[in-house]
């Protein structure tokens, strides 16, 4: 199964020509919007899953129960139970509409996994958490250990973003893709994210822009996990969205047959 992040830019595309088996949208964008385009995708036999950005699992404000109820209603409407958000903070006690690193500490493992459990209790189902790109962070644990311990303690799923692991390794060293994957209980992984990134001279760091083709090593690992463990892959392309031909080519590159 190969999926694609559905973007508003695609609203006038003939989606039947897009070679994806499933899609993903941000619930924040669809709670208050006409969902007809999503229902069309579902009617074509391709599920639409939810991947959120504003749960603020790492933040300090109480969880937004009204928002969680809206997500639950959206899941019911789209007939999906697949919902993920980021293992990150979207602000302190407030929102800043970005994703900030949670310190990789044992204290944060306990605090954040309690918040994830609370979300799962409200939803009455499992949540998956995504490992994020981070540009600076503190803490005594490695990122892979932090993620593994949170998932274990919260008993939640993992949305494993291979591009984020690659970007973090390029920026900070630490575990490379192979070593990182070895730390993860693959049974918990709902699906994989792949995307592209860019070098930014201004900061001397690789930035997770989602505006480029997937790096070859990242795509190779995705195909491998897809073949050996049957884990679906989803391509994210959120900025400078190219034409359908380019996206179809990228999607084709993720299919296992390409390795033959």
């Amino acid at each position: 199964m190969i999926g694609l992040g559905y973007r508003r830019e695609m609203s006038d595309w003939d989606m039947s020509a897009v070679q994806a088996d499933f899609f993903e949208v941000a619930p924040e964008n669809w709670v208050h919007r006409d969902r007809a385009p999503l229902h069309q995708l579902i009617a074509s036999g391709r599920p639409v899953h939810l991947h959120g950005v504003s749960l603020n699992l790492g933040g300090s404000s109480p969880l937004d129960l009204d928002f969680l109820r809206a997500v639950r209603e959206l899941m019911a409407d789209l007939n999906t139970t697949v919902y993920s958000d980021h293992l990150a903070a979207s602000g302190d006690a407030h929102q800043l509409y970005d994703l900030f690193p949670i310190p990789f500490t044992r204290a944060e493992v306990r605090r954040v996994s309690d918040r994830i459990r609370q979300v799962q209790d409200v939803l009455g189902q499992r949540l998956a958490v995504e490992n994020t790109t981070w540009y600076t962070n503190i803490g005594e644990l490695s990122e892979a250990d932090f993620l593994a311990q949170v998932a274990e303690r919260a008993d939640c799923g993992i949305l494993l973003d291979l591009n984020n692991v690659t970007v973090n390794h390029q920026n900070h060293g630490g575990h490379d893709l192979t070593a990182f994957v070895q730390h993860i209980d693959l049974e918990r992984v709902s699906y994989l994210h792949v995307a592209g990134h860019e070098w930014d001279e201004r900061f001397g760091l690789y930035i997770d822009t989602h505006s480029q083709p997937v790096a070859p090593g990242t795509a190779e690992m995705a195909r491998q996990l897809n073949q050996t463990h049957g884990i679906p892959i989803l391509l994210e392309w959120d900025n400078d969205v190219p034409g359908m031909d380019v996206l179809n080519r990228e999607l084709a590159c993720l299919r296992p047959s390409m390795t033959l």
């Binding site: 603020n56 302190d92 929102q95 800043l96 690193p101 949670i102 540009y135 600076t136 900061f203």
Partner: protein, 90 residues
């Protein structure tokens, strides 16, 4: 995460909290600026046009410094921005 982390990100302070890197924090400040600037420009392109680059940047930076946004919906930023302008010109 310390309050100092978010003070840097909002542009309230240039002090780098212990253990973090200045370059990494500057990325976060930049990303928050881009997020706010792009959403507000999308709704008020004429304001951006009228102000020009420098005054626009000054306005958005001031808006972010005082931010206490709570909505989980990024699009609500435009209403909050209008409320901010009303407060500032009161």
């Amino acid at each position: 995460m310390s309050a100092a982390f978010y003070d840097f990100v909002r542009g309230r302070s240039d002090d780098v909290p212990a253990g973090y890197t200045a370059a990494g924090l500057r990325v976060y400040r930049h990303l928050v600026y881009l997020g706010a600037s792009q959403m507000i420009e999308a709704h008020f392109p004429a304001v951006r046009e009228q102000l020009g680059d420098d005054a626009w940047r000054t306005l958005i930076e001031a808006y972010i410094r005082q931010s206490e946004w709570t909505s989980p919906y990024y699009g609500d930023l435009k209403d909050d921005f209008l409320a901010y302008l009303a407060r500032e010109s009161a």
